[in-house]
C-alpha cells in the first residue's frame, strides 16, 4: 500500500500515529552533556534579562548580512536582523537571508566541534579523539617544522576556502609568512575564467561592471547566466538590488539561462532558454545579424577597440583574416559563417528568436549587458565570458548611462582595511584548482602545462596544508573520488591541519582539528555592499563555549612554537588590530563613524551613486586609456596569442587546427557539453547556486535541508522515457562517480540538460560503493582544468540519470 499517495506521506508526521509516537519522542531527546560535538551547556532561559549584540554573516557571500542576536544567560535565543516595521521599498536594510536567520541552530548544533582533536582512523573516515590544546598545537607545529626543514616552504599550502570573510580572516597566512612562507595560489573557484580573460580585453583597472542601479536608465537589460537572488541572498545585496531594479526600470529584461532560475520566477516572459555553455554561439549569431543589417557601431569599434575588423587589427596581424569580423562572416579561423541558423542549432534558440533579439539589441539604447559567473565556470568559460563582453562593444553600449561592459554588476562598499598578512618569501604560485595535482605530482607542473606562476616549475609537491574554514579539499573541489584517493594517501600530503565549526567532508582528512568560533562569537567587522554600501561592526554574542578559540588565537599559539609570537601579534589582540585597521579606514574615509559609534549602531549604511562602467574611458579614450597593451578594448588579444604559444594543449581545448588558444572571443564547443554527450552519458549536467546553502556552508543543517531538498532538475521530456516522476529517488552518474538524490521534474530546465545545485554534503561509503547519497555534484565534475585560466569547469559535465 505504500506506493499509494506517496507524495503526501509526510502527513503522518503530525497526524495520528497514536499516543505511542509522543512517548517515543520524549524518550529520544536525552543528549550527552559533554561530548566532542554539541551545543553549549543548556540552561533554562527563565526570565533573565535579554542582551542584544550585533554581528555579521562571514561566509563567502557579499551580503555579509547583519545579524542581531537576542541573548539570555549567555545563550542565543533568536537571531534578528537590521530591519524595521516601517521600512519602505527604497529603504536600505541589510536583512539576513534564510541562512542567516538559521544561525542559532548552527551555533547550538549537536555537530559543533568543541575540542581539539586528533585523527584516530583513516583519512576521510572522520574518526577523532579529544586532545589538549598543547598537544594539538605541538603536533601541528612539530610537523610543520619537519616539512619546512625537509622540503622547504614551497611544500606548505593554505588551500582556497570560503568559510570566513572578515577583515582578520587570514591569520594563518600571516603566521606562515613569518616562518618562510608558503606556496601561493591564484584564481578562485568562483571566477577563475572570467577573472583571467577580462584583463586581456579590458585591462584590470577600469574593467569593473556597472551597478544594477545604473541599469534603471537602460531600455534593454540582457542577463547571461546569472541568478542575482540565489547567488547573493539578502536585503541589501544583489537579491534586493535585482528586485528593486526590476520594479524601478522601464527596461525590457531577458535572462538567458538554461534554467528558469529563482530570480525570474513570476516573470517567465523574461526567460530565454539556452543550452548551457553555448552563450558565445548566441553572441556570434547576434553579431552576424548586426553586421548583415548594418547595426554595428563602427565608430565605436574603430575608436575604442582593437580587432573587430581588418581596419582595427594590430599591424602584424592585418590581412590574415584573424579579426572578429572574419570569424563571424566565415572568412577566417574555422571558416564557418556564424548565421543565426548556425547559432540556433547549437544554442537551442530558434533562428527567428536570435534575429528578433539581435534586432532589439541593434535598435534599443541604452543596452545593459550583464553576466553572472555561471557561464564562465565551464571548459570554454574564458571564451564564453569574453564573447558576452564583446556584445555591448559591437553596438557601442559601453561607458554610457544605462550601459554595462558585459561583466557582472559593480558593488560598492565603505572603506575598510584588512589585517596585513605580511610578505610571502615564496614566489611560486599555482591555480587554486590544481592543488590536488600539486599534492600528487607537483614537481611535474610547469608554467606551460599547469599555469604555474612565479617559477617555471614547482620544486616540490605539497606536503603540509592548513585548511581553515574550507570544504574545497573534496566537497567543493572536483572529482571527489579522485580527490579522496590523493588526500587519503598519507605519503603524499603528510599533514593536514583543519579548523572549522562542524565536521564537513574536507575536515575529515585533517590529522589535527581545532575548534573554531564564529565571527559573531568574537569582535569582527566587515565592509560590503552592492548598490548600497554598508559596514557591520559586531561583538561577541556569547562567551566562547567549550574549548573553542578564535583563528587569531590559534595562529598565535602556532607562532609561539616557532618563536615568532611577538612578530605575529605585534603585541596586539585581534580586537586591537580590528580597531587599529578601522582607524586607518577612517583616515581614508573620514565620514565613517567612530569605533564606539560603529559598535553602538552595529550597521552603518552608505548610499552610493550608480556606477557606470568605463565612463572615463568612453569620455577620453586617450587620457583614460585602458591598461591593455593597446590601451583600447581588445576584441583581438595579441598578448593572449603569444602567451599560449608553445603550450601543451589537448586537441579539444582550442579550435581545430590551432596550436594556441584563440585570440578572439569565439565559440568553443565544450569537452563535456551539449555537443559532446555520448550514448552512455546522453545528458548535459550543470550546477547552480541553491538558496539553502552558500556553496557547502549550511549544507548539514536539517532545518534548511527539509525545505530545500537536494534535487536533480530534469525536464519532463527527459524524465518520461526514463520513467522518472516528480519526487522519485534517482541516481545521476558519469565516468567520475554516482550520486543519489530526488528528481525535480520541471519545465524550468531545458530538455537535454540536468541541473544539480552545487554544495550538498558528500555522503558516501568511500571504502564501499562510493555512491554519494548526499548528492554533491562534485562527485561528477572533472579535475581537468579549463585551458587558459586552469580554472574549475564545474558546470561542464555529461551524465545519465536513472531511477534509483
Amino acid at each position: 500500500m505504500s506506493d499509494i499517495m506517496p507524495s503526501l506521506s509526510r502527513r503522518t508526521f503530525v497526524k495520528t500515529t497514536g499516543a505511542l509516537g509522543a512517548l517515543a519522542a520524549v524518550g529520544g531527546s536525552v543528549a550527552a552533556a559533554d561530548s566532542l560535538f554539541g551545543a553549549g551547556v543548556p540552561e533554562a532561559h527563565a526570565a533573565s534579562e535579554e542582551k542584544i549584540t550585533w554581528g555579521h554573516c562571514a561566509i563567502n557571500c557579499p551580503g555579509c548580512c547583519s545579524l542581531k542576536f537576542h541573548v539570555q544567560d549567555d545563550e542565543v535565543v533568536w537571531v534578528d536582523t537590521y530591519t524595521s516595521k516601517d521600512a519602505g521599498f527604497d529603504d536600505p536594510q541589510p536583512r539576513a537571508c534564510l541562512r542567516g536567520r538559521s544561525y542559532r541552530r548552527w551555533l547550538a548544533s549537536p555537530d559543533r566541534i568543541n575540542y581539539p582533536m586528533k585523527r584516530v582512523g583513516k583519512r576521510g573516515e572522520g574518526k577523532y579523539e579529544q586532545i589538549s590544546w598543547d598537544e594539538a598545537i605541538d603536533l601541528a607545529a612539530t610537523k610543520l617544522k619537519e616539512v619546512i626543514d625537509q622540503y622547504g616552504n614551497e611544500a606548505v599550502y593554505v588551500p582556497y576556502a570560503t568559510g570566513v570573510s572578515a577583515t582578520t580572516s587570514r591569520p594563518f597566512n600571516r603566521f606562515l609568512n613569518l616562518v618562510g612562507g608558503y606556496l601561493n595560489f591564484y584564481n578562485s573557484y568562483s571566477t577563475a575564467q572570467i577573472s583571467c580573460i577580462t584583463p586581456y580585453m579590458y585591462g584590470s583597472k577600469q574593467s569593473g561592471g556597472s551597478s544594477f542601479k545604473a541599469a534603471e536608465d537602460a531600455k534593454l537589460v540582457l542577463i547571461f547566466g546569472s541568478s542575482p537572488t540565489e547567488t547573493r541572498q539578502g536585503g541589501l545585496t544583489t537579491h534586493y538590488d535585482w528586485v528593486h531594479l526590476r520594479e524601478r526600470t522601464g527596461a525590457k529584461i531577458y535572462m538567458i539561462d538554461y534554467r528558469m532560475n529563482d530570480s525570474i520566477v513570476g516573470h517567465s516572459e523574461q526567460w530565454l532558454p539556452i543550452n548551457p555553455g553555448t552563450d558565445a554561439a548566441l553572441v556570434a549569431g547576434i553579431a552576424h545579424y548586426l553586421i548583415e543589417h548594418d547595426m554595428v557601431d563602427l565608430d565605436f569599434l574603430h575608436t575604442y577597440c582593437v580587432g573587430y575588423d581588418e581596419e582595427s587589427m594590430p599591424e602584424a596581424y592585418k590581412g590574415k583574416n584573424m579579426s572578429y569580423y572574419a570569424y563571424i562572416m566565415g572568412e577566417g579561423y574555422d571558416k564557418v559563417e556564424k548565421t543565426p541558423e548556425w547559432a540556433a542549432k547549437i544554442t537551442g534558440i530558434p533562428a527567428e528568436r536570435i534575429e528578433s533579439l539581435a534586432e532589439e539589441i541593434g535598435t534599443t539604447k541604452p543596452l545593459y549587458v550583464n553576466q553572472g559567473w555561471g557561464p564562465q565556470r565551464r571548459s570554454n568559460g574564458e571564451w564564453t565570458s569574453w564573447a558576452i563582453m564583446a556584445l555591448p562593444c559591437l553596438v557601442g553600449q559601453i561607458g554610457l548611462p544605462g550601459t554595462n561592459n558585459g561583466t557582472r554588476e559593480d558593488r560598492t562598499s565603505p572603506a575598510s582595511v584588512s589585517m596585513d598578512a605580511g610578505k610571502n618569501p615564496v614566489k611560486a604560485s599555482i591555480p587554486c584548482f590544481l592543488f590536488t595535482d600539486a599534492i600528487d605530482h607537483g614537481t611535474e607542473m610547469t608554467s606551460k602545462n599547469a599555469g604555474v606562476k612565479g617559477v617555471d616549475k614547482l620544486p616540490v609537491n605539497i606536503k603540509y596544508m592548513i585548511n581553515y574554514a574550507g570544504n574545497c579539499l573534496t566537497n567543493q573541489h572536483s572529482e571527489i573520488n579522485k580527490a579522496h584517493d590523493i588526500l587519503a594517501d598519507e605519503s603524499k600530503c603528510e599533514f593536514i591541519l583543519g579548523i572549522d565549526t562542524v565536521m564537513c567532508d574536507s575536515l575529515k582528512y585533517s590529522d589535527v582539528i581545532l575548534p573554531d568560533l564564529f565571527r559573531f562569537e568574537q569582535t569582527s567587522q566587515i565592509s560590503t555592499g552592492s548598490d548600497t554600501g554598508y559596514m557591520i561592526t559586531g561583538t561577541a554574542c556569547t562567551s566562547p563555549k567549550f574549548e573553542r578559540k578564535t583563528a587569531y588565537e590559534m595562529a598565535t599559539l602556532m607562532a609561539e612554537k616557532f618563536g615568532v609570537a611577538d612578530e605575529f601579534t605585534e603585541g596586539k589582540t585581534e580586537e586591537e588590530r580590528i580597531k587599529e585597521q578601522y582607524e586607518k579606514a577612517r583616515e581614508k574615509s573620514p565620514k565613517l563613524p567612530t569605533w564606539d559609534e560603529a559598535v553602538e549602531m552595529g550597521v552603518y549604511i552608505e548610499e552610493h551613486d550608480p556606477v557606470v562602467s568605463m565612463a572615463k574611458f568612453r569620455k577620453d579614450p586617450v587620457g583614460s586609456a585602458l591598461d591593455t597593451p593597446s590601451g583600447k578594448i581588445e576584441i583581438f588579444s595579441e598578448k593572449l596569442l603569444q602567451f599560449t604559444e608553445g603550450w601543451e594543449l589537448e586537441a579539444d581545448d582550442t579550435l581545430p587546427g590551432m596550436n594556441t588558444m584563440p585570440p578572439i572571443p569565439v565559440y568553443l564547443p565544450e569537452w563535456y557539453g551539449v555537443e559532446t554527450t555520448t550514448d552512455e552519458y546522453p545528458l548535459a549536467l550543470s550546477g547552480f547556486h541553491y538558496r539553502g546553502r552558500i556553496h557547502s556552508s549550511w549544507g548539514f543543517m536539517p532545518e534548511l535541508k527539509e525545505v530545500n531538498p537536494q534535487e536533480a532538475w530534469i525536464n519532463p521530456v527527459d524524465a518520461e522515457p526514463r520513467k522518472i516522476a516528480q519526487g522519485d529517488k534517482v541516481r545521476v552518474k558519469n565516468e567520475f562517480g554516482e550520486i543519489e538524490l530526488l528528481a525535480k521534474v520541471t519545465p524550468r530546465v531545458v530538455p537535454g540538460t540536468v541541473a544539480v545545485s552545487q554544495g550538498a554534503w558528500h555522503d558516501a561509503d568511500m571504502a564501499g560503493d562510493r555512491v554519494d547519497k548526499g548528492g554533491s555534484i562534485n562527485t561528477l565534475t572533472t579535475q581537468r582544468p579549463s585551458p587558459l585560466s586552469k580554472g574549475n569547469p564545474q558546470h561542464t559535465n555529461i551524465c545519465e540519470v536513472v531511477k534509483a
Binding site: 507524495s7 537579491h239 513570476g266 519545465p747
Partner: protein, 206 residues
Amino acid sequence: MTHYAFSFDGTRCTGCKTCEMACKDYKDLDLGVAYRKVYEVTSGETKKDANGCFTSTCTSYPLSMSCNHCDDPACTKVCPTGAMHKDAETGLVSVDADKCVGCGYCHMACPYNAPKVDREKGHSVKCDGCAERVAAGEKPVCVEACPARALDFGPVEEMSKMGERGNIAPLPEPTYTNPNLYIKPSADAKPAGSADGKVVNPLEVM
C-alpha cells in the same frame, strides 16, 4: 478594534524562504513544523522541436503564506473545544493550548494549510500573527525579515489597498473563509482555483 491582514507582493517574491526560516527561529519550531510556507506553482512546457530548438510555455511563481486570519475561519468553526479562536480585538486567530484536545479538525478544515497538530506539544500549532509583537507595535517577524519586501502586515483597510483578496492559485476561491491576505499577483500568477495552478513542491510545504 483593528483587524489585521497580511499582504503579499507576488511581483517581488523570489521564493527564498527567509520569511519561513525567520519565523522558525523566532518561534523555535522544530523539523516538520513551519507556520509560514512557500509554495511553488509551475505549469506549462519547455520542449525541443525537430531542429533542436526550445519553445517554452513554462510559468512559475512562488507564494509565501502563513495563516490568513480569515474573517470566517474554517478552523474555528470545526473546533470542538473553542481552543481555536479569533481574537475580537485584532482578528488574529490562535490556539489556546490549555484547551486544545489535538483532534486535528482545524488542520483538515483549513484550506490554507495553516494549523497542524504537534503531537509532542500536544496541541494544534499555527501562526498567531506574532500577536505579542503586534501588540508592542511591531510587525510579524516574517514581514520584517523579507529581503525583497514582498510581505506586509497591517490594518485590513491598509492591506486591502495593496491587492486582491486571496485571488491566485493555489488558493481556493476566497469566498469559503474570506482570508485576510491581499495579493499583488505576478505576471505568471494563475487565478484562484485554476487547474494550471498546481503546487509542485509538496515535500517543502508539509
